[in-house]
Every structure is written in structure tokens, then in C-alpha cells.
């Protein structure tokens, strides 16, 4: 397709959240009849870009032009009326409504406010088009699996007859055959003149689908080029923008294989999410938990820390069985486990409270009187100084800090308890590169001091460069444990996608 004017044109777009710059001065355009991939690390600004385009948020500065005319979207409906439709990573289906109702609500007809019967027939046709005809229109969405929901979400987007279709990790839960079907529909849309803009972390998807590729890094648009113009390695270098050696500390010497493990799990299961997980972590070891989102790896630290009920199997910490688990018991003197949760906004800290008060929360109930509390305070301040916390004062509310600085407070508050075992859920998600490097150094130091660390991460580089061993999860099980020579990005990705070494056609459905 060779339409001359770009369909969408961004000029000097910036978006800030308080002190955090999610996008800075971005110029970017897309044309009709193309498939355009957006690549970037977590926190590069990809999702912010998509949300701006779809009207979910408004830019702090700059101009968005559609067909050459400036627009100011204040809602997703306004954007979808101009043909810009986004399929969000966080699903936008309403659970108690049926599949059909969810789809037809995306584009309400006039008809005196009543939904005509043909709308439901069209919804059905759309589902059939993407190979999801088996999903009945009258099924309530809360009865669907994640993969089925993604298909409904895609149908919902297509139903709106988009000119620009934005897909944010749209197929992450789909199996290979379902993905191929969706891809063929996307190609057909492109040939009809639609522009498809998509975010994916899977290189082979990008290679299969994209005509053009744009790389974003730390909120800036780095470069746009035709697919195939650069090699994978060159693209990765653009995405990271910094050599691995600067970001990660040098490798640690292997830990003493004879040392007694600090943490040992035996046949730990949790509902349908975890089955028979067994591993042990020795002092000074960083044990990685990897895999695609939602394969159960996030549940492991929660199970160990005692925040999940109904976990079966044995967990030993420091050689003692940890039974009748609860977070309070876990952080106590007997076990000395610390847990840094995934969502610092809701789980990690109490936003309106001051930095100082948040620091002290983890130590509550540990006893030891004033002296111990003062000691914890001292350690916490030392950690914050070491992590170079940027703040107005320790009395400021945590909500005034940027994401990276909040993460520093969260880490400090737990490390002040001097744990023997540290559990971390994606501690560097959405954090700038400098803070990342500081956190990596801190974790490396802790390991050298003999702390056993369990690190769940979605960042492959982090797992490869920081961990001694990595368990890759797939469908609630450890698909493969990687260490030493086998611990490299290729193995991580293939194991994460459920591909064993002799089976290249794994289906994630």
C-alpha cells in the first residue's frame, strides 16, 4: 500500500506521571496498510504510547494528528469513532456479561438504544473469522479461560472495524495454531488497508508479522526501520542501549555445592496453578524463576511466604520445616524470610504514609524493643543512602516518589530485617536503567554475603546475568532448570514457550 499521508502522526509527544517521564518528545507515525511492531524493554514507554493513541490517557505535551488533522481524545470511545481501536494487555472484558454482550457493547448502534439482533450475528461472524466460532455468544465471560478471553478481546476489537488496530501482547495466552489463525486475519486486515500496530516480546512473532519495526527505549523513540533491515542482535542492542557489562555486576563464583540449603521446597502444589514444585536454594545463591506471564512462577514466592492458603507440600527454611505458614511467622526470627511483592503501589507500600512510616511497617511485631527498632531504622537509612534514594525528605509520602525510588524504599524496608532468605517478584519492572543497575548490584552483594535469593522476573537478561540457576515455568510446572552453560536467552525462551529440546511445535492452549 502506498498511501501518502500518514494515518497517525505524533509530534513532540510527552507524557509524565508526576516526576516520572513515561514518554519524552516522541515523533512517530504509522501508515495505512502496514503491520508495525513496537519493540522495547519493560518501561520503554510502549504501553503508554498505545494508551495515548487509543484515548485512554491524554498527552502532557505534543500533538496527535489523524489523517493530518490534530485530535484530542479524552476517551477510548472518541478514538474508536475515528477508527482507532486498541486491544489492551489488561483485558477489557466485563466478566458478568456474556461474550455477545461484550462484543456488541464495543460499538453501540443507534436503534433507540436497543441492540439489534444483527449486531449479535455480526459478533458471531467476527468470532468465526478468527477461528473462535466454538465460543458461544451467550457464555458469560467469567466462565472463559484466559486464551478464550483473548480471542473474544480480539473479536471485540475487530468488530469495531478499525483503521488502526493496536495489539498489546494480544496473543500471549494463545497456542501456536490459534496465534497463526489470528495472524492470518491480521494480514488480511492489512491487505484491506488497515494499519496494525503491535507490541510483542516474542521475536519470531515480530518476524512473522511486521513490515516495519520501531524501537523504543526509556520513553524515547530510538529508530524505525523496515523489517529485515537489522539482525536480532542489532535490534536487541538498540533496545537495551547499553552493554550488558555496564548493567550487570560481574559473575559470582559458584556457591559451595556441599552447603546446606537455606530454602528447600518439596512437591509444593497450589490448586491448578502450581504442581509438584521442588527445588532448593543454598546460601549465596540467586535462584531465578522465569517463564511467560501467568505460568505459576509468581505464586512460588507467595506460597513460600505464606500469603496463599491451600498450598500443599513441604517447605524448609534453614533446615526447619515451615508449617502453618503465615507472613508474620515467615518474617519472624525463626525463619527470617523477606518478601518484596510485585505491585509496589498496592501490595508493597501504603502510598499516603510517609517514607519513614513505610520503612518501619515490615519490622512491626518483631519485638526486641526500642533498641532493635532503632537498629532496623539505622540499617534502613544506610540502605537508602546506598541505593541513592532521591526524595524531599523521609517524612514525604511514598506516593510522591518515582517508581524506581519507591522500589528502593520497598527493598530497604525488607532488607533492614536482615533476612536469610529474600523473595522478590519482578523487582525491576517498569524501572529506569540506572536504578536497575543499583538493584542488581545490591542483590549481588547480598548474595555474596550469603543470603539465599529467589528472584522471579519477566526480564530474560536479568535471569541470565544475575542468577546462578533458573527454573523456567510452564503450565504450573518447572519445565526446565537452567544453569551454567545452558543458562542463555535462547534456552530460556524456548523453555518458557513450552518447547522442549526435541519438540518444536508446543501448543500453549
Amino acid at each position: 500500500m502506498t498511501s501518502t499521508a500518514p494515518l497517525i502522526d505524533l509530534a513532540g509527544i510527552s507524557k509524565t506521571y508526576g516526576p516520572v517521564r513515561a514518554l519524552s518528545d516522541v515523533d512517530f507515525s504509522v501508515r495505512s496498510g502496514s503491520t508495525h511492531a513496537i519493540l522495547g524493554e519493560n518501561g520503554a514507554g510502549k504501553s503508554t504510547l498505545m494508551k495515548l493513541l487509543s484515548g485512554a490517557i491524554t498527552p502532557t505535551a505534543g500533538e496527535i494528528r489523524v489523517d493530518g488533522r490534530p485530535v484530542h481524545f479524552t476517551s477510548t470511545r472518541q478514538a474508536s469513532e475515528r477508527g482507532i481501536v486498541c486491544m489492551f494487555q489488561e483485558l477489557s472484558l466485563m466478566p458478568s456479561l456474556s461474550v455477545g454482550d461484550n462484543i456488541v457493547l464495543a460499538r453501540p448502534g443507534r436503534n433507540f438504544g436497543f441492540v439489534p439482533g444483527r449486531a449479535y450475528r455480526e459478533a458471531k461472524t467476527t468470532l468465526e473469522r478468527i477461528g473462535a466460532g466454538a465460543i458461544a455468544l451467550d457464555t458469560p465471560v467469567h466462565e472463559l479461560t484466559l486464551a478464550e478471553r483473548q480471542l473474544v478481546e480480539i473479536a471485540k476489537a475487530l468488530y469495531q472495524k478499525p483503521r488502526l488496530l493496536i495489539l498489546d501482547e494480544a496473543t500471549s495466552a494463545l497456542g501456536a495454531s490459534a496465534v497463526e489463525k489470528v495472524f492470518s486475519v491480521i494480514r488480511a486486515l492489512r491487505d484491506e488497508g488497515c494499519c496494525v500496530l503491535f507490541i510483542s516480546h516474542r521475536f519470531h512473532e515480530v518476524e512473522a508479522l511486521a513490515d516495519r519495526i520501531s524501537v523504543f527505549r526509556a520513553g524515547s523513540h530510538i529508530r524505525t526501520f523496515p523489517a529485515g533491515a537489522l539482525t536480532r542482535d542489532e535490534i536487541v542492542a538498540l533496545m537495551i542501549g547499553q552493554s550488558m557489562e555496564e548493567l550487570f555486576p560481574p559473575p559470582r563464583p559458584p556457591v559451595d555445592a556441599a552447603a546446606a540449603p537455606t530454602l528447600r521446597l518439596q512437591d509444593v502444589s497450589f490448586g491448578t496453578e502450581l504442581s509438584d514444585i521442588s527445588f532448593s536454594v543454598r546460601p549465596g545463591e540467586i535462584y531465578g524463576l522465569g517463564g511467560l506471564d501467568g505460568q505459576g512462577q509468581q505464586r512460588v514466592p507467595e506460597a513460600i511466604f505464606g500469603t496463599l492458603s491451600g498450598v500443599t507440600g513441604t517447605i524448609e527454611i534453614g533446615g526447619r520445616r515451615f508449617e502453618r505458614r503465615s507472613p508474620f511467622k515467615a518474617k519472624g526470627r525463626d525463619f527470617a524470610v523477606a518478601f518484596v511483592p510485585e505491585d509496589r503501589k498496592t501490595e508493597g507500600m501504603i502510598q499516603p504514609l510517609s517514607i519513614e512510616d513505610n520503612m518501619r511497617l515490615a519490622g512491626l511485631g518483631l519485638g526486641g524493643g526500642k533498641a532493635a527498632a532503632a537498629e532496623r531504622d539505622r540499617r534502613c537509612r544506610a540502605l537508602l543512602a546506598r541505593l541513592e534514594l532521591v526524595c524531599g525528605g523521609l517524612g514525604d509520602p511514598v506516593s510522591s516518589l518515582s517508581g524506581g525510588n519507591q522500589q528502593k524504599v520497598l527493598l530497604a524496608k525488607w532488607l533492614a530485617l536482615a533476612p536469610s532468605c529474600l523473595l522478590l517478584l519482578d523487582p525491576t519492572r517498569g524501572i529506569d536503567v540506572k536504578t536497575k543497575a543499583q538493584i542488581y548490584r545490591l542483590l549481588d552483594d547480598l548474595a555474596r554475603e550469603g543470603v539465599a535469593i529467589v528472584l522471579q522476573s519477566t526480564d530474560y537478561e536479568e535471569l541470565v546475568h544475575l542468577c546462578d540457576r533458573v527454573a523456567v515455568f510452564y503450565g504450573g510446572r518447572v519445565a526446565r532448570e537452567l544453569a551454567g552453560e545452558t543458562l542463555n536467552p535462547e534456552n530460556l525462551i524456548s523453555a518458557a514457550m513450552g518447547l522442549s529440546r526435541n519438540d518444536q511445535t508446543g501448543d500453549a492452549a
Binding site: L91, S92, S96, G109, V115
Partner: protein, 322 residues
């Protein structure tokens, strides 16, 4: 197929079965049996509460709660006792005034909730106090006059069938059509089910919430109007009973207090169930002063049943719905 139907409609089927049993007991033990007279009294009582329960339902559907339902019923009842005597203004103008008052009350509460970002429980507690106060001011002691021809037409029977029962059936049919077939109705379910998803779908979350409150107010207005039809007076003191019973009725009818789930049929069945229980207690020889205690117990039991997950909407992917 049948198993799926039962599973999906459990929230209505359980109260419907309970109602069928208790209603049979009631009619079976009543000295006059299934007569037009017994049915009319029961049905009028049900209709009184059904309007209030509907008012509560529309707000609860969008994950709110309306503590002003009883106050709006009382206020509109008092207004009705002033304007429905057939002399001050023509009767149809009076009816419009009464219903308009109800809708306006709901609209004001809705604006507070949606644009003032005040939790519904607080906003409606405040507006409810204002409406009750206004009702008391307009009619300090029960009294007033209501056009009797209109009252007779709406509270007796059409053939052997109580008029109020016909009205209830009409509401179920029209209300269900509105809720399940209109964009607005589906938006109410969508908003209650997940506000975030509704917003991403392009539903105007704030105005939908305001409309839910206004529609609830209109229903409460119908309630106050019907109280006037049945009692022929205005009484500012009826507010608290209606608020509590409206919540009890929808919970018994399988409406989720967490929003997004429930049907008009369920609301009506819940109301019938509650009224049948009350009628059974009336005939059971319990001292009248002990009845509020037992009504309270029933409400607590109904809510507890919800809390134990018997009627909960199960989400296969609770982890992804956050």
C-alpha cells in the same frame, strides 16, 4: 444444556424454589385459601416493596448501594398526599410530579456519587437524610388525601387477577427487555462487573452511574406513589423500613451486592419471598414486636449465604480480573 442453564441461573432458581414452597404453605394454611382477596392483599404488599427493591437494584447493579431508597419513597408518598387529591392539580399532573420528584432525588444522589467521587453509601446516607427531613417538614403527621378512583383502579383486581400483580408482571417484562437488550441496560451490568473494563470499552462510566441512580429514584417514586394508592395517606415515617427491606429483598433475589449480577425477575421473586415470609410470621402467632427481629435474622442469613459463596459469581480467572 439443562445443567448449564441451572448453573447459570442458580441465583434466581434457588429463591424461586424457596418462594414456591413457602407460598404453597402460606396459601395452604391461610383460612381463606387461594382467593382473589388474599391474593390481592399479598400482591399489593409485594408491589409496595417491589418498587423500593427495584430502586435499590439499579444502584446495586453498578456496585453502589442506596441508603436513600426509603427516604425517597417517604418523600414521594408525602408529595403524593398533597398533589393527588384530585383538586389541587389534575391527577395526571400530580402523578408526574410524584414520579418526577423521585427521579430528581435519584439524579441528585447520582451526581454526588459520580461527580463528587463520594462513596454511594455516604452520599445516599446524606441525601436520604435531606429527603426524609423534607418529607417530615411537608407532612409532620400522617395524613392528606388521595384520589380514591385512581386508588381503586390500581389496588383492586382486573377480573380475578390483582391489578398490582399485573403491574409487577409488566415491570418484569419491560425491565428485563431494557436491561438485557438495550445498550444502557448492558452498560449497567458492564459497569458493575468491572468499572475499568467498562471504561476501556468506551462506556461513559460517570453518566451511566448517574442514570442508574436516577432510574432508581424513579422506581422509588413509583413506590411512594403506590404507598399513597394503598394507604390513601402520606406518611413521612416509613423511610427506614423500606431501605432495609429493599436490601433484604434484592439479596434474597440473588442480586450480588458486589454489583454486575442479578435480574429483575430475581428482584421480584426476592420481594415475594420476603413478603411471604412476613405474611407467614403474621399468621404464625409470633408477637408483632418480635417480627422485626426475625426479619433482621432473615436478612443476615441471606447476606451470609452470599458471603459463603453459594450465590457468588465464580470467575475462573480471578487473578486476571484485578
Amino acid at each position: 444444556m439443562i445443567a448449564t442453564f441451572i448453573r447459570r441461573n442458580m441465583r434466581v432458581l434457588i429463591p424461586a424454589a424457596a418462594f414456591a414452597i413457602l407460598f404453597s404453605v402460606y396459601i395452604g394454611t391461610h383460612p381463606r385459601g387461594l382467593s382473589s382477596y388474599v391474593l390481592t392483599i399479598w400482591s399489593n404488599q409485594t408491589a409496595l416493596l417491589a418498587f423500593a427493591a427495584l430502586a435499590q437494584f439499579f444502584v446495586v447493579l453498578v456496585r453502589g448501594i442506596d441508603l436513600s431508597v426509603g427516604a425517597v419513597v417517604a418523600l414521594t408518598n408525602v408529595v403524593a398526599s398533597h398533589v393527588l387529591d384530585g383538586q389541587t392539580v389534575p391527577v395526571f399532573v400530580g402523578v408526574l410530579l410524584v414520579l418526577g420528584t423521585g427521579a430528581l432525588c435519584g439524579l441528585v444522589s447520582g451526581l454526588f456519587v459520580a461527580f463528587g467521587r463520594i462513596p454511594a453509601i455516604i452520599a445516599t446516607l446524606a441525601t436520604g437524610a435531606v429527603y426524609s427531613g423534607l418529607a417530615l417538614w411537608l407532612r409532620p403527621t400522617p395524613g392528606g388525601a388521595v384520589d380514591e378512583a385512581l386508588s381503586d383502579a390500581l389496588t383492586y383486581t382486573i377480573g380475578p387477577v390483582p391489578t398490582s400483580l399485573v403491574i409487577i408482571l409488566l415491570i418484569v417484562v419491560l425491565g428485563t427487555l431494557l436491561l438485557r437488550r438495550s445498550t444502557f441496560g448492558l452498560s449497567l451490568y458492564g459497569l458493575g462487573s468491572s468499572e475499568h473494563s467498562a471504561e476501556l470499552t468506551g462506556i461513559d462510566v460517570r453518566w451511566t452511574r448517574v442514570k442508574a441512580h436516577a432510574l432508581g429514584g424513579l422506581c422509588a417514586g413509583f413506590g411512594g406513589f403506590y404507598v399513597a394508592m394503598v394507604t390513601l395517606t402520606g406518611d413521612a415515617g416509613i423511610a427506614p423500613a423500606y431501605t432495609l427491606n429493599s436490601i433484604a429483598a434484592i439479596v434474597l433475589g440473588g442480586v450480588s451486592l458486589a454489583g454486575g449480577a442479578g435480574t429483575i425477575l430475581g428482584v421480584v421473586i426476592g420481594t415475594m419471598l420476603l413478603k411471604t415470609i412476613a405474611a407467614l410470621m403474621f399468621f404464625s402467632g409470633l408477637p408483632p414486636l418480635a417480627q422485626p427481629f426475625f426479619e433482621g435474622l432473615i436478612l443476615a442469613a441471606a447476606i451470609a449465604a452470599g458471603a459463603f459463596g453459594i450465590l457468588r459469581v465464580r470467575n475462573k480467572l480471578k487473578l486476571f480480573s484485578q
